[in-house]
């Protein structure tokens, strides 16, 4: 048996979203089983199934070094405060 990751998308601008996973012997059976496992109540209009073996991943240790860079988490508040102060100065 293989494990497939299931992605669903509704009509419109919504993106494909991960819905879960399922077990199936091959691609064709995965499609057949996905319909009744994830689309019983018309949860999506489009379906992607990805064999988990084909998913490209990175080691946690490789991703981790970016966790301690708060300067990359700019929410714009420094610039906003600066501009606000400037407006107030100009107004006198």
């Amino acid at each position: 048996m293989r494990i497939y990751e299931v992605f669903l998308k509704r009509e419109g601008k919504d993106e494909f979203r991960h819905a879960g996973s399922l077990e199936a012997a091959d691609d064709e059976l995965a499609v057949l089983l996905a319909r009744e496992t994830y689309l019983r109540r018309a949860e999506g209009d489009q379906l992607w199934l990805v064999d988990r073996a084909h998913v490209v991943t990175a080691e946690p240790g490789f991703i981790e070094p970016n966790a301690d860079k708060p300067h990359r988490h700019n929410d714009g508040s420094l610039v906003a405060d600066h501009r606000k102060a400037q407006r107030e100065r100009e107004r006198g």
């Binding site: 059976l29 057949l32 009744e36 496992t37």
Partner: protein, 243 residues
């Protein structure tokens, strides 16, 4: 309401098959080999019960027809009365039955009764799924070799005589054909069905099959009484209740 007596009997036989097939499939809810298959198989069971209800509605009160008759008033084939406690048997029966069911709906598509013809579109959409599910699974099991292949091959061999008897018509079939309520005889539909079965299962010796004693679908098998007792258990608590 369908009036031609033979047509009523023909549709009743189909409804009874759908009803009992659906009931039998529901036995696998929660115990199918894996979760995804459990969901697919119980959806199929639900579809079959829906087909039965729709057909019964054309003939009278669905509850009365489904639960309120004596055994000799049923027109089911023995295949749908059979208990299948092994998954290989349940799968083989699902496959043999749904390959046949597709032909039976097709034979109603051009029915002279508009209410009958109207049911076909919905049922056929659902049947496409049933047939694909059954055929793909069956082909994979046979291709797997070893124990899985042996188990399903043995199940097919065991079920074949009783499955082939799906095509034993009711006495009223000729009248149903004359009235145009159904447009293909059971005998005509049997040939393409046998070819489809053989296409996946390999060559089969049809001539030597010993058919069950169904007496034009008026005789129930030994398995009917316990099945009927089980499926009417809740209904019998209060036959006048509204569910």
């Amino acid at each position: 309401m369908i009036v031609v007596e033979g047509a009523r009997e023909h549709l009743l036989a189909f409804a009874d098959d759908e009803h009992l097939m659906g009931q039998q499939h529901t036995e696998w809810i929660g115990v199918a080999p894996f979760l995804e298959e459990d969901l697919a198989f119980s959806s199929i069971a639900q579809d079959e019960l829906g087909h039965a209800a729709a057909l019964y509605e054309l003939l009278g009160d669905p509850d009365d027809l489904a639960f309120g008759r004596d055994g000799d008033e049923y027109r089911s084939c023995h295949l749908v009365e059979l208990p299948c406690v092994d998954w290989a048997d349940a799968l083989a029966r699902h496959w043999l039955y749904d390959l046949a069911e597709a032909h039976r709906w097709e034979a109603l598509a051009g029915s002279s009764e508009p209410e009958v013809a109207a049911l076909v579109a919905r049922a056929s959409r659902e049947e496409d799924y049933h047939r694909r599910h059954a055929s793909v699974l069956m082909a994979r099991m046979l291709a797997a070799g070893g124990d899985p292949a042996n188990r399903v091959a043995n199940a097919i061999e065991r079920l074949l005589p009783v499955a082939d008897a799906i095509w034993e018509p009711v006495a009223g079939e000729a009248a149903a054909l004359d009235a145009g309520v159904v447009t293909e005889s059971s005998a005509t539909m049997r040939e393409p069905w046998r070819a489809e079965v053989a296409a996946i299962a390999g060559p089969l010796d049809w001539a030597s099959l010993e058919p069950p004693d169904q007496a034009a679908r008026t005789r129930r098998s030994e398995h009917f009484a316990p099945l009927r007792a089980r499926i009417t258990e809740v209904f019998a608590l209060d036959p006048t209740a509204n569910w």
